[in-house]
Symmetry: C2
């Protein structure tokens, strides 16, 4: 079966790509350049797509800077680095991009429909969905209805399925899954800071490092500070 995989180049989406391959899918990766600060992630996405042997990798460009509203796209806002891991999972963070997953899933749906793919894989997970409204299971269910009713295939009873293999997993469990799938962690990228070397202090780096540490493992990615 053909599958479209949303690939940011981070630890989660890279694991999902390897999972889709392991599920026997022919994978079509899709990444987005929305003028995010961490362009470095896109290089990671390309490397991972190549390593996983995808059939095709599409990069969609669009610009969310025009109307601002997120620290990830708005130059005037600072990337947070000082929140505790508890704070991160309780509140909708400043790095939230309005409707981001809705936009991503919409493009993935268009791509899946054009390629006659039966699945769209997305790397949302339990840790995110407490903080982000568009990572929770009820939201995914609502998008599944959109996939069913908004396409030719869906209307004909053959809806493209949204597959979220990580949705109930914690970061440590994702790393364990990725280890089983032999995901090349050194090619992935999580840092929000956008330098050539991961900063080690932003929320994304700290979450990742904490999860490797909890498992007694070494993250093979080099960091500027730990």
């Amino acid at each position: 079966m053909k599958a479209v995989v949303l690939l940011s180049g981070g630890l989660d989406s890279s694991t999902v790509l390897y999972q889709a391959t392991s599920d026997g899918c022919e994978c079509y990766a899709i990444s987005f350049d929305y003028q995010q600060r961490h362009q470095r992630e896109l290089e990671a996405a390309k490397a991972i797509a190549h390593s996983a042997g995808v059939v095709e990798h599409q990069l969609v460009n669009f610009d969310l800077n025009a109307w601002g509203g997120s620290a990830l796209t708005d130059e005037a806002l600072d990337i947070p680095t000082q929140r505790s891991l508890g704070e991160m999972s309780q509140n909708i963070p400043i790095t939230y991009v309005p409707a981001r997953n809705t936009i991503f899933l919409s493009f993935a749906l268009a791509y899946a429909e054009a390629r006659d793919a039966g699945r769209v894989y997305l790397g949302v997970n339990a840790l995110d969905y407490s903080g982000y409204p568009d990572c929770r299971p009820d939201y995914i269910q609502a998008m599944q209805e959109v996939f069913r009713l908004g396409t030719k295939q869906g209307r004909e009873g053959d809806a493209i399925a949204i597959v979220t293999p990580l949705i109930e997993l914690k970061k440590t469990e994702i790393i364990q899954l990725g280890n089983q799938l032999v995901v090349p962690w050194e090619q992935t990228w999580s840092c929000y800071a956008g330098n050539e070397t991961a900063c080690g202090v932003c929320d994304a780096c700290r979450l990742r490092l904490a999860a490797f540490a909890e498992l007694g493992l070494q993250d093979p990615l080099p960091y500027a500070q730990i």
Copy 2:
């Protein structure tokens, strides 16, 4: 109340913009340049947005050519001109762009959230929804759930509402509504052919001309052939 209005520059979305203004909304128009053949439509959108006195008009650029699949974006497919009006409303037409309304509504949602708007206006109508899966009321309802569950406001009980004033109207009824609202028809654009003057023979021109004729009215837009 602030409202985001999806504005293509066509007859339907222009009527919707005037309806939103008439409903007392401060309007934020959003248009899309997705490398559609009819760039001329975007010029119409700018003119109409100006005439209606919108607060702001955002143009979002993205490229759906990359994966093809629609006559509107794929240079290899011909624009249909020979179908009967009956055929147009029965089948999903070749001008269907995969997931187009889902992508449009996703960006509108992001924009509405960034501007703290309470409504998103969309010009889908009865004639379209028999042909396009993503114009039907059950699809709009599914997107409404996505708006509710995929945003901060929605999670706090204050979901952005999708408003579709034309959904039960035929083309003739839309023209009657537009006449009441004094929509400047000569500034709107429906033609698929992409020339400086509307062709008069593509599906979009013929639908529009037939509706004006049925009402015994003259479409003020000049046509190459009628």
